[in-house]
């Protein structure tokens, strides 16, 4: 099915620490999305990229996260100062297009626990 690779599988951080996760999109997919899934199964869109450019991001991401998708390197999402409320499953997805309806392929996620 999906060939999106996310690392690490699990991440445990203390409050105030940085938390960094990575994503390798499917080959040939220029669009990458990050979503946060909380314990209530609610998905929150965080940010998306087309190639190396940010297309959209929510306020929280802009203020507290650092994200990039450099060419020839994995995409990354980093929380600058982790909070307890950041504990969640972080899912990366890739797609062929951001401007037409296309299937999203998800990775297995990084489960972050902030103690």
């Amino acid at each position: 099915n999906s060939k999106v690779i996310q690392t690490p599988r699990y991440l445990v951080k203390g409050q105030g620490q940085k938390a960094k996760m990575r994503c390798i999109p499917e080959k040939g997919h220029p669009v990458v999305f990050w979503y946060q899934q909380n314990k209530n199964n609610e998905f929150k869109f965080l940010i998306n990229f087309q190639n190396q450019e940010v297309l959209q991001q929510i306020d929280m991401t802009e203020k507290r996260f650092s994200a990039e998708c450099p060419s020839n390197s994995p995409c990354s999402l980093e929380i600058q100062s982790s909070e307890a409320g950041d504990s969640a499953l972080y899912l990366c997805a890739s797609s062929l297009s951001s401007t037409s309806a296309e299937t999203l392929y998800f990775g297995s996620g990084t489960r972050l626990t902030v103690l």
């Binding site: 099915n1 209530n40 199964n41 998905f43 499953l89 899912l91 309806a101 299937t103 999203l104 998800f106």
Partner: protein, 109 residues
């Protein structure tokens, strides 16, 4: 904002029975995608529909082509391996993907 109402929130089926999940959208959507999330958290894509119906084995999905305001996922002859949490996710005219809150399915012998 756009809402996706998914039902039921939980479902228990005996092996061999049929059932259906449904997602209603508060606004017109361009497309819908159905996923199954396993216990490890992996979201497996089941169907992508821009209109009409698609079938794959014991699963069949439909997306209302007229109003584009709902989608269904039918499970026929449920098997133990169908257990998991199912999500629909719909793409609106602004290309924003909105997820339903999931259906937790348990199939027992």
């Amino acid at each position: 904002g756009d809402q996706v109402e998914q039902s039921p929130s939980a479902l228990s089926l005996h092996e061999g029975t049929d059932s259906a999940l449904r997602c209603n959208f508060t606004t017109t959507m361009r497309s819908v995608q159905w996923f199954r999330q396993n216990s490890r958290g992996s979201l497996i894509s089941l169907f992508y529909l821009a209109s009409g119906t698609k079938e794959n084995g014991r699963l069949k999905s439909a997306f209302d082509s007229k109003e584009r305001r709902y989608s269904t996922l039918h499970i026929r002859d449920a098997q133990l391996e169908d257990s998991g949490t199912y999500f629909c996710a719909a793409l609106n005219m602004g290309y924003k993907l909105t997820f339903g809150t999931g259906t937790s399915l348990l199939v027992d012998p």
